[in-house]
């Protein structure tokens, strides 16, 4: 088990593995997102209360889910790098941050567009919306902090620390709808009991969730390769790899 763990620490291994995984992640993401969008927009029945406005869920929920998943990935990678001094962890954290920030923005804007017809307002200082906005600021903070130091190693450590501290916001975002009174609806898919959605609406949503996760995997691998190259460009293996 530890051999596998330490192989992960090897930049050339990570670089090659990421290159091999990228097309597979992209292929699965294209198929599942394509299916989810077509089924969700054209064939799923309208909601009995929200009508066709509910179809925003097919991009809103996967984006919101991904915003939390990317943050957790970033914080975990930062923790691995700090605790075990595995430098690839910093590269993973740096690669995950802009992807997570972009999907947090999508979750906020699509949530706002969904809120206007349902709640009568684009924005309310609701616990779920506010904690998701804090998540976006945490992403911006982590990205900025990494670039704020002349010494990249110090920037990496500082960004990893902020990422780890900020991970406390992840359960707050998730459970905010249960802990406080909220305009936002409660969980519909990730319930311990039976999901509250009809299967004709649920399947495209699950496909979109899975597709967005695979998309994250693909883009993370691409960015990770760039990060590894940037950090290792003086090493022999990079010189061999980039030889024209």
């Amino acid at each position: 088990m530890w051999t596998w763990f330490y192989r992960l620490a090897s930049p050339p291994h990570v670089y090659r593995t990421a290159a091999a995984l990228t097309p597979w992640f992209f292929a699965v993401a294209a198929v599942t997102i394509g299916y989810g969008l077509i089924d969700g927009l054209a064939f799923a029945p309208p909601d009995y209360q929200q009508g066709d406005a509910f179809r925003i869920i097919y991009v809103h929920a996967p984006s919101a889910w991904l915003s939390l998943f990317a943050y957790t990935t970033m914080a975990f990678a930062g923790a691995v790098a700090l605790i075990w001094r595995i430098k690839v962890g910093y590269a993973v954290a740096a690669a995950a941050a802009p992807i997570g920030a972009s999907f947090t923005l999508v979750a906020l804007v699509t949530g706002s567009l969904w809120g206007r017809p349902m709640w009568g307002t684009y924005w309310a200082w609701d616990p779920r919306l506010t904690s998701e906005l804090i998540l976006l600021f945490l992403y911006f903070g982590v990205i900025s902090l990494r670039q704020a130091f002349e010494d990249p190693a110090r920037g990496d450590r500082a960004a990893a620390l902020l990422g780890i501290v900020g991970v406390i916001n992840v359960p707050i975002v998730h459970f905010s709808v249960y802990w406080w009174n909220s305009l936002h609806q409660g969980g519909t898919v990730m319930r311990l009991g039976k999901p509250e959605m009809a299967t004709s609406m649920l399947w495209p949503l699950l496909a979109m969730l899975f597709g967005f996760m695979c998309f994250f995997g693909a883009v993370l691998c691409m960015r990770l390769r760039g990060e590894v190259l940037n950090r290792e460009r003086q090493s022999t293996w990079v010189r061999e790899a980039v030889k024209p």
Partner: protein, 49 residues
């Protein structure tokens, strides 16, 4: 879209736009890293010779 088209389609468009931006940005990030690595290699070679 039952009167909700002005909310649904911009949401879908934004999400697809961000998907495309992510692919473009990741490709660009990797391409720039490759250029930097090749430049470093060329500099090292010129210093050796």
């Amino acid at each position: 879209m039952g009167g909700y088209a002005r909310f649904v389609w911009p949401s879908i468009g934004l999400a697809l736009g961000v998907l495309i931006w992510n692919v473009w940005a990741a490709r660009r990030h990797h391409a720039q890293a490759l250029v930097r690595a090749r430049r470093a290699l060329a500099m090292a070679r010129s210093e050796e010779s």
